[in-house]
Symmetry: C2
Subunit: 286 residues, 2 copies
């Protein structure tokens, strides 16, 4: 579990740091970024929000563009951004050279099919290996929140829905809500998991929400001018499933906003406050 | 003066837009970005801060990474980010293939030497052509502020110092304060302006500040862990010249901060408030 610090930059009185480590669950070296707010130097253990990025991203997009450091510094919250897939020459990518499968497109699942199953286990990495690493190496409490964008919004939703008790809060921006029923999801799930669509249900938020054993309130922001909304994202499917199950979902449709980080930046403060409030409540209840 | 809109994205209740136009002063097509805050739809004319970026940047770096939209939306301020040099196949770049001269490195001067003099006239573009374009096409008042980073911090300082009455406010992040006396500046000025160092003085903030006919208060933030500080930036030279001239300069050395946009993001709110305050005072005085 040794980690190598690649860079360290002061930001809003805290530190943005990047690390490389050998990821046992993925069988490759991985880079992640962590924002440590000023309060990290106080000796107390701080809550952590895990951010899962979308297709083609690395650990860098969110840290550079979301404007999250300012809010995390105010709230005393650690933010961790992993990469979006296993990486390296030994890790097979999309045989067709696409950007929506393989490198940068791990979809936060555990693959079952060769040749993907050997490395593509981003679910295990995000849910287990990375938090263990963070909590061992940084002043991080076990108060965890999870959020993400697009493919990463899907990842945040399934990680929370599949792991009662593991997260205190969950939110998403423009998530792929029903991957079984959209081109991005069908391409990825059919390759990572195989042709049997029944096996895909365990990785689809709209399918999982009906039987979710925990009712963690979900906050979602979705831009109405998002070019991927109708074909790929389908929040209306998740909303219908949540309504049927009586699951607490707040879906905010934001007029005029697109799929970009300008949209994320516009609402990240609201999301981080949603996480902070849930984690403060959790602490108080204990 | 026709401009072509390339993209339009909602951000913090306003709009981030990119435009292409034929720049007469540069003899090439140029792209610039503008952030229009929500107040731009109110019918009133708003103050404008011009942001000049550093070496290798385009109009995009500041807009994506600085977190300025949030503050501009609150203050009701338009922000304009031009590119950092003339562009295109017809525009000669660095014959040595360097990143610190030519494309992305116009240094905000009017070149005097062939082959640069034909296109490299970023000073005229930034001081005259671009503001005229902005004020003709957007709800922009003639209340102008100017700021920038590194090479762009140098640009902001010289534009303000050389044009009394044209700007209401000026600030800079990690500016190249004394280009006559640093490797980046010596390379650029010797090529754009020729071997006679006497001609360089008109483009060097440390030289200009002694005789500046207007005393616009300058705000500068400089990271103490900036790897370019000692060799390239030299704020101590500007400070000494300002002190000798009795010029109002606030130079803030920020412990631990480097040369990156994480540094800029950490202090951009303070800078935009400095500009807003100066422009509000100017309006009140009129």
């Amino acid at each position: 579990m040794s980690i190598e610090c690649l860079s360290s930059q002061r930001s809003f009185g805290g530190w943005h740091k990047r690390y490389r480590h050998r990821a046992a669950s993925l069988g490759c070296d991985m880079v992640f970024a962590v924002y440590l707010p000023p309060q990290a130097e106080s000796g107390q253990r701080l809550p952590v929000v895990y951010w899962l990025s979308g297709l083609t991203c690395t650990d860098e997009n969110f840290m550079q563009k979301a404007g999250a450091h300012r809010v995390a510094a105010e709230l005393g919250m650690i933010v961790v951004a992993p990469d979006t897939s296993p990486r390296g020459e030994d890790v097979p990518g999309d045989p067709d050279g696409g950007w929506d499968f393989g490198h940068g497109a791990g979809f936060y699942v555990n693959a079952a099919e060769a040749p993907w199953a050997e490395h593509y286990r981003m679910y295990d990495y995000v849910v287990d290996e990375l938090p263990a690493l963070i909590e061992a190496n940084f002043p991080a409490s076990d108060q965890r929140g999870i959020s993400g964008h697009s493919m990463g919004g899907h990842g945040a939703l399934i990680c929370a829905l599949k792991n009662p008790g593991r997260y205190r809060s969950v939110s998403a921006f423009s998530p792929i809500c029903h991957p079984m029923d959209c081109p991005w999801g069908e391409k990825a799930l059919s390759r990572y998991l195989g042709a049997d669509r029944a096996a895909w249900r365990a990785w689809d938020a709209t399918e999982l929400i009906a039987d979710a054993p925990e009712r963690l309130p979900i906050l979602i922001d979705q831009g109405e001018a998002d070019g991927f909304l109708a074909e790929q994202l389908k929040p209306e499917a998740l909303q219908a499933a949540a309504d049927a199950a009586g699951y607490p979902l707040t879906l905010r449709l934001q007029p005029g906003y697109d799929h970009s980080y300008y949209f994320i930046a516009s609402f990240i403060e609201s999301h981080l406050r949603h996480h902070a409030q849930a984690m403060a409540v959790s602490v108080a209840i204990r």
